[in-house]
């Protein structure tokens, strides 16, 4: 990404500016702390670029409106926090099954319930993966800085358009409200991916046919490709079909398309993992405190590495296994009671112990507490 200047901005503002570069021209939202700035800024920014903003009556409506706009051919986004993210799950499942590109930002705050609205958390990790009912494809990205939020927002749209899958952008209150200098993209030199349109005439068009990529071509309403979209299981024509064979093949394709295109969404970063005896698996804002703790431990001679996940779902299983090859222990710092640790444990198996450093008091990690955790595990 080439730069066109730097600007000091909040994480929520980075989402806004990057979404416009990515081609977002529709936003539906509902006020909720700590994501509200995204709606406020887009209310003025979208009209400047010919886009449309609407404040809906609730979170369910915002999710549905974003999907409707996307079906009409417009790149669309909605943003929320925990309580609203719970409400979006119903229509998020609709987008997953009907394969409608849409980006959902969740600026995580302490839950459950109303919880602590202005306190950061990473309590929605599992909800991002399993929040809607049924097995379903979904991608979740979790940037660790404001600058990375800018890049991750553009990537979220690209993934969503390329694979026709809803993408969840998981920030937390710290990232959403923190201000950092951000390298702004030069709109002309950023890779922007748009959904692929029909390559055949309307009479030959099958809206859910696999063209070999497992990602069907997509026509917008109003383009002459009249078709049916339903949240029922459907065959390649788009019409309901409740037979076991159709259900099986639809499920295999919508899940399989993510397996087949891992390079499109998988995004991780390995640092000093080759020699590491202890590996930290980090993600989101706690990665910043963890980095500082790792540096200190390394200066003191400890062989500690870092494997940072920007893509949380689908879980980068193979990349983690490679990064953790030589490690005798793994540590996962997270602002919840160990949601991602469960997944890391699953991948590591019984041979390598996985320890959590957890906070659920609404406060952020200090480097020192992560450092203490490293020392304990390292000498243990």
């Amino acid at each position: 990404m080439s730069e066109s200047g730097r600007r000091l901005m909040q994480g929520n503002e980075a989402v806004v500016e990057a979404s416009l570069v990515a081609g977002c021209r529709f936003f539906a939202g509902y006020p909720i702390t700590p994501s509200t700035e995204i709606a406020e800024l887009l209310a003025s920014r979208l009209p400047q670029v010919g886009g449309r903003f609407i404040q809906m009556e609730d979170e369910i409506a915002s999710m549905g409106a974003a999907i409707g706009a996307s079906l009409a051919g417009t790149k669309a986004m909605t943003a929320t926090s925990g309580p609203g993210f719970s409400l979006k799950q119903e229509n998020l499942g609709f987008a997953a099954l009907t394969e409608v590109p849409v980006v959902v930002v969740d600026v995580q705050r302490m839950g459950p319930s109303t919880g602590m609205p202005t306190a950061p958390s990473q309590g929605d990790i599992m909800q991002a993966r399993w929040g809607t009912h049924g097995d379903h494809p979904i991608v979740a990205l979790c940037p660790a800085s404001v600058g990375e939020t800018y890049a991750a927002t553009i990537r979220a749209f690209n993934i969503s358009e390329a694979l026709r899958v809803p993408v969840v952008l998981l920030l937390d209150e710290v990232i959403g409200h923190m201000r950092e200098g951000v390298a702004m993209a030069d709109a002309q030199n950023v890779e922007i991916i748009d959904r692929k349109g029909p390559s055949v005439s309307p009479s030959e068009f099958l809206p859910y046919a696999d063209d070999g990529t497992m990602v069907p071509e997509m026509a917008a309403f109003g383009e002459g490709y009249r078709h049916h979209v339903t949240g029922l299981f459907h065959d390649e024509t788009g019409f309901p079909d409740m037979s076991a064979a159709v259900a099986k093949s639809l499920m295999q394709r919508i899940m399989g398309k993510l397996d087949a295109h891992r390079h499109v969404y998988e995004w991780t970063e390995a640092r000093d993992t080759e020699e590491a005896e202890v590996l930290l698996v980090t993600f989101g804002s706690p990665a910043q405190a963890a980095r500082s703790a790792i540096n200190r431990a390394q200066r003191e001679g400890m062989k500690v590495g870092e494997f940072r996940l920007i893509t949380l779902w689908p879980f980068p299983e193979k990349a983690l296994r490679e990064a953790a090859t030589g490690a005798r222990a793994v540590i996962v710092p997270e602002m919840n009671l160990g949601q991602l640790r469960l997944e890391v444990e699953r991948v590591m198996g019984c041979a390598t112990p996985v320890y959590g450093i957890n906070r659920t008091d609404g406060d952020i990690f200090k480097p020192d507490e992560i450092y203490q955790g490293i020392v304990e595990v390292y000498s243990g």
């Binding site: 081609g23 009209p47 809906m56 079906l71 949240g231």
Partner: protein
Amino acid sequence: MNTHLRKYFRQEHLPHIWCPGCGNGIVTAAILRALDRLGWEKDRTVFVSGIGCSSRAPGYLDFNTLHTTHGRALVFATGVKVAHPNLNVVVITGDGDASAIGGNHLIHAARRNIDITTICFNNSIYGMTGGQYSPLSPTDSVASTAPFGNTDRSFDLCRLVEAAGASYVARGTTYHVTPLTKLIERGFEKRGFSFVEAITACPVYFGRRNKMRTPVEMLEWQKDAAVPITRAQKMDPEELAGKFVIGTFVDIDMPEYTESYERLLREHASDRGGG
């Protein structure tokens, strides 16, 4: 089927799933007749529905069709219309879909006065799930979840939509097909939010339990209980007990949502670009 309406159907997806005696086909044909008179193009028209028996109608129609989640048709339709204001957007919904789980969306779509025509197929019951009472089931009527009679009060959805600010509100029945078609046609023509409640028959799950065992008895009930608005205005509330009013309740011109937003776009567009 009238031959001139045949072109609007996806005939390969017929027959429909509706029970014998169901009135949904009558409402669907009225919608198509109205649309045909106005010459609406198939490519420029989007049908959006929620969940329930009536919400299956768009699947049979050869337009851009979107079968969404329970109660949410209007929010998807709002996204389509705001993103693409030049499309004709029609919502097909049922009494449970529109008034219970989707009630809030109905209020706010009417309040925005967005140019969407909503046709509510009111069969007084949740038919798809086998006959549970809806907010529009009459008090004392029997349903699978009201075996001793419905203790809920039924409410008047047209008055709700009127109060919420729609430009056009009307009610018709499947007995009065010609007036129903005209009401729908007027709703289509109207710029702004249009709401047409179409009273339809569910003999299998509503009629059977409520002393109207046959489709004919249900149509006779529609004929007898319907009071045209001009006559109703001269009647006392006591005389109207057990009846319902049909006709046009609201037909006024008010600012339409997407037009107001397009004006805002013209006034505030700048050349700042996307970065």
